[in-house]
């Protein structure tokens, strides 16, 4: 092959052509300069590696890694225990078994039993009042008696509905409190009627 200047680019890609290129470059000033630059670029390149002292760099990196580690570190066991205790306390507070009545929303078994016992006592007491009030109330033609009858019918209806709901949701303190309130209302209504009836008679 007769090497020409136009072959230079191809020869730079093909190491096999290097001897012929060198022979040509020895005679051709332009190609000689091109080949010189080509080899000098590779020869000088490693000298472009930069190195300098960074005495504090590793310390900076170590601090950054330590900060990273502390932000990822799982909480110690005592923190988990503290959190669990807080959750348990909150649950107890929600149930509030030491309270009775309207402020309680959720009931424990013991509290429910207490409520049911109170309800049974209330019901028994109200039944006795009803038995006392019934003869006069049912027979009286007065408008006042009619109002009392109507109110008692409404209260009985509301109590029946609420009892049905409370049966399906026995631990709902709110329903139990509402039921107790209706019982108290019925009890008060019967007493009021008996008091008024006694005064009238």
């Amino acid at each position: 092959m007769i090497f020409q200047c136009s072959d230079l680019e191809r020869a730079l890609r093909t190491p096999e052509l290097l001897p012929e290129m060198r022979a040509h470059a020895a005679r051709c000033e332009t190609c000689g300069r091109q080949l010189y630059l080509w080899t000098e670029i590779s020869r000088l390149a490693p000298e472009l590696h930069r190195e300098w002292e960074s005495p504090f760099l590793w310390e900076r990196i170590r601090s950054a890694l330590a900060a990273e580690a502390s932000s990822r570190r799982p909480s110690p066991a005592w923190r988990w225990m503290l959190a669990a205790a807080a959750v348990a306390l909150f649950a107890v507070w929600l149930a509030r078994p030491w309270q009775s009545g309207s402020a309680r929303d959720l009931l424990t078994d013991a509290a429910l039993q207490e409520v049911q016992q109170t309800e049974a006592a209330y019901t028994h007491s109200i039944d006795r009042l009803s038995a006392l009030a019934a003869p006069g109330l049912q027979q009286s033609p007065s408008p006042v008696a009619a109002v009392y009858r109507e109110k008692l019918v409404l209260l009985d209806s509301a109590i029946a509905d609420l009892k049905a709901n409370a049966e399906n949701n026995r631990y709902n303190g709110y329903l139990q409190a509402e039921l107790a309130s209706l019982y108290r209302d019925k009890q008060k209504t019967l007493r009021d009627w008996l008091t008024q009836n006694a005064k009238r008679n």
């Binding site: 730079l12 590696h49 002292e53 960074s54 580690a69």
Partner: protein, 193 residues
């Protein structure tokens, strides 16, 4: 020339325990800071140099290296070991440098306009001048070509390693190196105006 602090680092390197890359990786996964330090001692100088060539600032280069180690720390559990840890570090560093370079560019654009980069390269008259001109020309060639040149010719990596770092075929790495040298030769051939 090796400085006193580097000698101290080299001395410490000889005292650390991880003799194989597998041991080193296991210790890194266990968040052992000594393992990260060993990696720093082994790869830090090269990464600083690469970062410097991308960012043209020692301070920024050190920041990039620091950020690289933080990213390594965060992501070491996900490193599967398909490539060497050095290759992986290099990849993290280059991406970090590009992010930092973009940030610096935005800062420059927000502040006062800067003067044009130096004049046209002067024709090299001697070896030192040629080296300075080469350094200058290197900043002016295509970034991908520059990166391959930097990794291959300046830092001495193999094409297989460069291909893994840049996630390109090995043939592409070779082609980009040729293009880089061609561009550099062209720039060095230009005569001053």
């Amino acid at each position: 020339m090796v400085g006193a602090s580097q000698l101290a680092l080299i001395d410490r390197l000889h005292t650390v325990e991880y003799r194989t890359e597998a041991d080193l990786l296991a210790a890194c996964r266990g968040r052992d800071l000594r393992a990260f330090e060993q990696l720093y001692l082994e790869h830090g100088p090269r990464l600083k140099s690469i970062a410097f060539h991308i960012l043209a600032s020692r301070q920024d280069a050190e920041d990039a290296v620091q950020e690289t180690w933080v990213k390594l720390y965060r992501g070491i559990q996900g490193f599967q070991g398909q490539s060497s840890i050095g290759t992986w570090l290099c990849r993290i560093l280059i991406n970090t440098c590009y992010d930092l370079a973009r940030k610096r560019q935005r800062e420059v654009e927000r502040s006062a306009p800067v003067a044009e980069r130096g004049a046209e390269p002067t024709a090299p008259k001697n070896q030192l001048a040629l080296k300075v001109a080469l350094d200058d020309a290197l900043r002016r060639i295509h970034p991908k070509h520059r990166m391959v040149f930097l990794l291959f010719e300046v830092e001495g990596l193999r094409h297989s390693e460069i291909a893994a770092i840049l996630e390109v075929p090995e043939g592409t790495s070779k082609a980009w190196l040729h293009e880089a040298k061609k561009e550099l030769k062209q720039l060095l051939t230009e005569t001053p105006r």
